[in-house]
Assembly symmetry: D3
Homo-oligomer: 68 residues x 6
């Protein structure tokens, strides 16, 4: 399945922190460039996301702001 989301950035999982319902995932896109994601614990379990996994950070364009 191809996505309408314009941002599908490959990287490596460097941290997985599960809370009671919400988990935080840290993805290294490039050396020194990390992306922080907040998803459900269910998604972490379903995709079996672990440190070292090759994944993609997926972001809809309308969720990207610009700072200058």
């Amino acid at each position: 399945m191809k996505l309408s989301a314009r941002n599908v950035l490959p990287g490596t999982v460097v941290a997985v922190t599960k809370g009671t319902t919400t988990a935080h995932i840290k993805i290294e896109l490039a050396p020194g460039l990390t992306m922080f994601s907040s998803i459900t614990n269910e998604a972490v379990d379903d995709l079996d996301i672990r440190v070292g996994d090759t994944v993609s950070a997926v972001i809809k364009s309308s969720d990207v702001m610009v700072g200058k």
Copy 2:
């Protein structure tokens, strides 16, 4: 002002396309790694966003999905 958004990624504007109300901005974060942003024309005018500008792509963690 420092932001709660965990993702503030520096880059260079490589394209600005204005529609009637909504504009699309392409930001190069690293060679071969671009971020696509959809913002209001007002924001483009207010920040005077132009190709070549040094900017940051700002994304709230809860807007980042993971694909595996």
Copy 3:
């Protein structure tokens, strides 16, 4: 690629309306149950989305509100 987004709902495209930069897609999930999506024109072109296509509406759980 499997997604962390908990909502991936299959359906059929019943309308595609392109604006200057933003397009609107109407997806029928079930008889009488349609989903409205607002995405970039680039995504419509890239995925070649047309009326009659079998697609999925993809929604992150944190973007779903509840009304009662």
Copy 4:
């Protein structure tokens, strides 16, 4: 109050899971078609959301991606 959100889909609550601050709600829209929502515990308490309730899943069009 009528909403600008184009997606207001009626359904039945089939699961409520409260975390420390964030709750997950599962809404059945049609047989075999469920919607997963992540909202605050405060909202669950305020609306008194319980399994069996008739509710609506409310989603802004700009939060709906398309996969093909």
Copy 5:
């Protein structure tokens, strides 16, 4: 219908600008405090939103960042 969205802020419409598919609405919440909203043209037509209308700006808590 009561909403899980924790932010339902009453105000007055002070500007409506329609693009080809996306419209911008400016809502005055209090003197000197305005809220900018980007919604579909369909929503503007459906709710018949006009300057002077009493409306509410509705925002999900997970879409509110904090700057300090």
Copy 6:
């Protein structure tokens, strides 16, 4: 850094509630007008957000719905 987000509303923090991974912040924008924000615990720690702080609620226009 100036933001493309059209809504940067100044206020005072009146409550901070940390969960296991997600925190809730209540910001008073004006007497009787409060904004509820859901952010990561990491952001609360990083910005050292405390009751009484002068902060801004930051919201992208595309995340603001209208109710009428």
